[in-house]
Symmetry: C2
Amino acid sequence: MVKSNAARLDSIFHALSDATRRSILRDVAWRERTVGEVAKPYRMSLAAVSKHLNVLESAELIARERRGSFQIVRLKAQNLRPAEEWLAWYEKFWNRQLDALQTYLEGDKDEHSGNG
Amino acid sequence: MVKSNAARLDSIFHALSDATRRSILRDVAWRERTVGEVAKPYRMSLAAVSKHLNVLESAELIARERRGSFQIVRLKAQNLRPAEEWLAWYEKFWNRQLDALQTYLEGDKDEHSGNG
DNA sequence: AGAATTGTCAACCATTTGGTTGAATGTTTT
DNA sequence: AAAACATTCAACCAAATGGTTGACAATTCT
């Protein structure tokens, strides 16, 4: 499915809004895991974890790939980047003092291209 | 309300998962605005915008303050920082090549303190 | 005091979310 | 081919979400 920038950010931030899903991303960050391995730490059913994986997959934050009888879960970290960039735009508001913001204001020619 | 780190990230990412709310944050970033000014660009009712402001406020991404008969909306950008930091942890997975990751793996002593 | 303005609250509604259980699918093993 | 294993799908449920409208509250203006 092709998504607009806004819709892509919607799905990424939505995927990240649940602690279980954020935890799953950590779990698969350093190495691929099977769905069963991913599910093991959680108290919920395998089907529930599979649904969380659906949410992460539709945000394209993971990919699933069948390998033999297993489904392998792999992080697609590069697709976190739009979220990180969206947030990075706000760094100036917490990094700088308010009067520094003032000078910023004068120089700002809106180089952020209407996403969000 | 005091929230755990995970709950705080839940509420921040949830607040950001809606395009209207992200747009509102942009609208109030450079200067404070009244609720009415914030609501004007959107086709929905003022009450609907007020609810979006509730979501942003409970994530502490904005503050509302009465000034005369107006409610003034102000960005609290510093509270985006936990989200930005959570995401920053993943930069290594999109910045580096896979073999650089390998060296990373050996040196990693998990300096990220169990949030998320 | 009364009217106008600004915004919130309450009740309601449809849709989405996050979980469950049980049946179904795809793959490997016997 | 049958059994076992790994995972998804479908149906269901309660709670949360995102919107509406109308009543209410706080403030200012006349």
